[in-house]
């Protein structure tokens, strides 16, 4: 199966130090991958470099055969992105917002696809609501609808269910599973909810201090660290990171 995302040797250094240190990350077509790691591990920087928003100091990124940064615009037609922390622009109704993004993705029928997406995630009644009238959970759902209405080959979600109650989170997982099943969409997701990751992802990539420290199916990765589940692996890596920061004098 071919890769929809192929990143090789990604490097990024900010003033405070190296954020990403030689990360290789591939996602095959239709594959569901979780990018995990404690705070400051380099997850978001890696995602933003893969999306062409942040320029890497070194390494290459290719999406659906388009090399970044030159092929960014063409590549983004195959990608959807949503993040729990991104608001909906004010002064737009949900339908207007989705229509706008549908047109940005080159859709000839954005209204139809917006309705299809809203129905998939059970929020069709929100089409006329103003962005400011929505709860944070509804905003997240609309963000996910926006990022899936063009049937992307790769869907990138940064903390998609961070602000959702369990019921809505399940609706998101079900909707995403249906999308991946029906359309063969690949998923690259970051989350701090390890139970959720075990449900969604068939492969996990653990980052720590900007490096890939584990890559494989969730249970295999847990076993490799001698732990029972991903939650324990996460806690182990977070405590390791904290200990190394103490040693380096980065924390009091």
């Amino acid at each position: 199966m071919s890769d929809v995302l192929r990143a090789r040797g990604l490097l990024k250094t900010y003033r405070r130090g190296r954020a990403v240190d030689g990360v290789d990350l591939s996602v095959r077509r239709g594959e569901r991958v979780a990018l995990l790691g404690p705070n400051g591990a380099g997850k978001t920087t890696t995602l933003l470099m893969c999306l062409g928003v942040v320029e890497p100091d070194g390494g290459t990124v290719e999406i659906a055969g388009h090399r970044l940064p030159r092929g960014r615009s063409a590549a983004m037609a195959h990608v959807g992105f949503a993040a729990g922390y991104l608001p909906l622009p004010e002064r737009l109704r949900v339908g207007e917002y989705l229509r706008m993004f549908g047109q940005l993705y080159g859709l000839a029928d954005p209204e139809t696809q917006a309705l299809r997406g809203l129905e998939r995630f059970g929020v069709a009644d929100l089409v006329k609501a103003m962005g400011t009238e929505l709860s944070s959970g509804q905003k997240t759902l609309i963000g996910i609808v926006k990022s899936t209405m063009h049937d992307p080959e790769l869907l990138v979600l940064d903390e998609p269910t961070a602000s959702l109650d369990p019921d809505v989170a399940m609706r998101v997982r079900t909707g995403l599973a249906a999308l991946c099943e029906e359309r063969g969409t690949a998923l690259l997701v970051t989350s701090h909810n390890m139970v959720e990751v075990e449900r969604i992802a068939e492969r996990v990539v653990f980052l720590s201090a900007g490096r890939v420290v584990a890559d494989g199916p969730p249970l295999e990765v847990a076993a490799r660290f001698g732990r029972d589940d991903l939650e324990e692996v996460f806690l182990h890596l977070a405590s390791e990171r904290q200990a190394s920061e103490h040693t380096e004098g980065l924390r009091p």
Binding site: M100, G106, R116
Partner: protein, 286 residues
């Protein structure tokens, strides 16, 4: 669409426009988004209604007062027309600049920049979409000044004839070029640089020859004024007021300067955009 039609369209999956049409669709999408912003924020009409009238009354009355101080043969007689044509033409630069600058800032205020950057939208398409809607605001703003000048002071700017069109085109391009500088500063310094959007116009206004020729300025700033393309465009406007022939010399100087200013603005914004991506400044807006 019927329920059956919707279901079959949904099952088919999305239909995409051709590759040639896609950039135009994206530009229109951005323009429409900004039309909604104005429609739902009527206070933003202040820039294109109240402000132009205030300017017209201020400069028109100033001109009328000075005319009343001089005799019938006084050179001050032309002053009111210079001031009113100056303010009408100034609003071309002002509205073009402020529409693009605030349009871009709207994307930062609403933290929409990251969402836009992960779509196929190109940077120039974003600016083009904002500028396209900005043209509508410009027509409103300049129209209000022109109507106020006609209604309140019987000054008809259309009497200057078709020769006014190249002057307007040059001023429009200069407004967009200044906006690109402002966008570059916001990319580099964040929303703290917003003050430039309004402040820069108060620097350009006295130096840009809006109401008077270069010779009226203190000697020390005359070279700067002479370098600005707006100075020559406004000078061309005054030549037309005086009833002279089309001032090709001034227009040529203004056009050459405009090409240079636009090239510099594009280079500057491209440089700032590279820094923006390299330093990950997008996280300021997400």
């Amino acid at each position: 669409m019927t329920a059956q039609g919707f279901e079959s369209a949904a099952a088919r999956g999305p239909v995409r426009v051709s590759r040639e049409l896609a950039p135009w669709l994206r530009i229109l999408a951005v323009a429409r988004r900004h039309a909604y912003v104005l429609y739902r924020s009527p206070h933003r009409l202040f820039d294109v209604t109240v402000w132009p009238i205030v300017d017209t009354v201020l400069f028109g009355s100033l001109g009328v007062y000075f005319v009343s101080q001089g005799g019938p043969g006084s050179p001050a007689q032309a002053g009111v027309a210079y001031l009113l044509s100056g303010i009408v033409l100034w609003h071309v630069v002002y509205q073009a600049q402020i529409a693009v600058s605030t349009g871009f800032m709207e994307e930062t205020w609403s933290r929409n920049l990251l969402s836009l950057m992960v779509t196929p939208l190109r940077e120039l398409e974003l600016v083009a979409g904002i500028a396209l809607f900005g043209l509508a605001k410009l027509v409103m703003g300049v129209g209000v000044v022109a109507l106020a000048a006609f209604g309140l002071y019987a000054f008809d700017v259309t009497n200057l004839g078709l020769a006014l069109l190249p002057v307007i085109a040059i001023l429009l391009l200069n407004g967009w070029a200044i906006a690109l500088f402002v966008v570059g500063l916001i990319l580099r310094f964040g929303n703290g640089a917003e003050a430039f959007a309004w402040g820069i116009m108060f620097v350009i206004m006295p130096l840009g020859g809006v109401f008077y020729p270069v010779e009226a300025l203190p000697a020390i700033v005359r070279p700067i004024s002479a370098l600005l393309p707006t100075t020559h465009a406004f000078a061309a406007g005054r030549d037309l007021i005086d009833g002279g022939p089309v001032p090709w010399g001034e227009l040529a100087l203004a056009a050459i300067g405009t090409v240079a200013v636009i090239a510099a603005a594009l280079a500057f914004v491209a440089w700032m955009l590279r820094l923006f991506r390299r330093r990950g400044y997008v996280t300021r807006y997400s």
